[in-house]
């Protein structure tokens, strides 16, 4: 696996951002991952928070943004994954999504991109959040 720094986006001639999509519903994961690739992002996919951590720990992978569902099968949910990322990879940003009504306060403390993205979401909303994060990161 090559790192994101070796790829350039055709649109802006800037280093291609790498997104890790964490979603246990395969058809949702497939659609959002494919859409993000068509938008020019480099995308890795994980079925669970545990898989996501394995990818994040792989030395050959560099992830800029984790886009994760909250409710997932497995030992960890999306909130716990976000906490893990905060603790271990503070430079990696997190966007959370959920179909359930959850406390915006919890998500607000874990997501740099603002409140939790409510399911069902439009794929373009995800791209908008990613762009917001990128713009915010440039300001600081």
């Amino acid at each position: 696996m090559s790192t994101s720094s070796t790829h350039l986006s055709a649109e802006a001639n800037t280093p291609l951002q790498t997104i890790l999509v964490v979603e246990d519903e395969v058809l949702i994961r497939l659609v959002i991952a494919e859409y993000l690739r068509e938008c020019g992002y480099r995308v890795h996919e994980a079925v669970s928070a545990e898989e996501a951590i394995l990818i994040l720990q792989a030395p050959e992978v560099s992830v800029d943004i984790v886009f994760s569902d909250v409710e997932m099968s497995g030992e960890m949910d999306g909130f716990e994954l976000a906490r893990w990322v905060r603790a271990n990879m503070p430079e990696t940003q997190v966007i959370l999504t959920s179909g359930a009504e959850r406390s915006a306060d919890i998500a607000g403390t874990l997501c740099e991109a603002g409140p939790l993205l409510k399911k069902p979401y439009h794929t373009q909303e995800v791209v908008d959040r990613i762009k917001q994060l990128k713009a915010k990161a440039k300001r600081f």
């Binding site: 696996m1 395969v26 058809l27 497939l30 996919e45 079925v47 394995l54 990818i55």
Partner: protein
């Protein structure tokens, strides 16, 4: 026209590959390599995910690990695909068992991802190796 005079032209539209692998790092590496070759790549971490994808999306080739987390589910998938008689081709992989009587191509783990991509390309008549 005799069979001998038929020329098989290379494909122009990217074939779609479903990579079914329980080990996320292997799945990630092989999928990245196949994408670098221009294939459209879908990923599944289990047989049940793979069946959901196959019911929803046409797939040209299944790159299937037989050693999936649920024991026996890889072979169940093979039987399912054979029974469905779909045009989906298969390449099998495994780290432990060598399925000698399987008619499908087999790659033993650990493999080089480039070796897998070359085999997939040959199987699907796809001539688009990644640029160096």
């Amino acid at each position: 026209m005799s069979a001998a005079s038929v020329t098989v032209l290379p494909r122009r539209t990217p074939p779609s590959i479903l990579v079914v692998e329980g080990d996320v790092r292997i799945r990630c590496r092989v999928s990245d390599e196949l994408r670098a070759w221009g294939f459209k790549v879908l990923e599944a971490g289990s047989a049940s995910e793979a069946l959901t994808v196959l019911d929803a999306v046409p797939v040209d080739l299944l790159f299937l690990a037989l050693d999936l987390p649920v024991a026996g589910s890889g072979w169940d998938m093979v039987r399912h695909i054979r029974e469905r008689r779909t045009p989906t081709k298969m390449i099998l992989t495994c780290g432990e068992t060598d399925p000698l009587d399987s008619p499908e191509p087999f790659v033993r783990k650990p493999y080089r991802v480039a070796e897998v991509a070359e085999l997939v390309a040959r199987t699907l008549n796809w001539h688009n190796p990644p640029q160096a």
